[in-house]
Symmetry: C2
Subunit: 170 residues, 2 copies
Amino acid sequence: MTSNGTGPPFDPIREARRQWVAHGWEDAADGMAMVTSVVRAHQLLMERIEAELRPLDLTFARYEVLRLLSFSRAASMPMTRLGSLLQVHPTSVTSAVSRLVGQGYVERARGASDRRVVLAVLTPSGRDVVERATEALNARIFTAPGLPPDDVRALTAALTELRAGLGDAL
Amino acid sequence: MTSNGTGPPFDPIREARRQWVAHGWEDAADGMAMVTSVVRAHQLLMERIEAELRPLDLTFARYEVLRLLSFSRAASMPMTRLGSLLQVHPTSVTSAVSRLVGQGYVERARGASDRRVVLAVLTPSGRDVVERATEALNARIFTAPGLPPDDVRALTAALTELRAGLGDAL
């Protein structure tokens, strides 16, 4: 964010990589730069996404729950299935759904065939807010995510390799 | 994380992309997949990093503060400079530093030439813990971040393009 006025703008990640090499950690320098770049890209994207979702009083985590429910046939899904599709811990799903219940966007129900199963069910106002959120994200983030189309696909492919290397079964 | 047993393993991001196209949002589908892939890669990396840092009672955010201080000549830095190098909001720096002061890893001081400047200063135990954290991260994350070396560098280059496209001055 800072330029010294005499050369190219200053990149904190490039500087950190230089420090890593200077400290004798060459074999870890590229990995550090990659990890830190993922962290920074995530931060920049989340700032933009949450700015779009804030007027709707949604976070990206809650938006993802609503989105999955909106795609399911009965607009409902077992809590355990939500956790597995969102690849998050069950307590995170419980927390997001509780907040969505409080907002009137989701209701809890019991499975018809197995009463032990807890379902999250999208309400009509939940359907409405997830459509508005998707319109905003599509228009201002997903159609212009910061790279030209070919580079978007190449980056997704590289990140898919990384996810596989980190244990996602793809 | 789930395989249906009859085909390739199920990828929630690929399925979300399919849903986007099926809903007529083709022009946003690749961007959605890229953004969601960044979010998932970040989540997987953070799980690994925080597992390494938890025994040291550090988060990645607090580790980054200690790391920057350890690289600076006087092991100290104005709070505002920390925020600009870490590319985070001043309140995030204040919060991380307050916690590090409580842990005895950082002390607050006033600038020698300008008493209005608040400095964060690394303590000897802060120096010790950041060295141990770096050893752990270098050994178990940064030297094996989930991709072969050439792919690590290519992904960093692609993420650098993305950061520039999202507003980082690089």
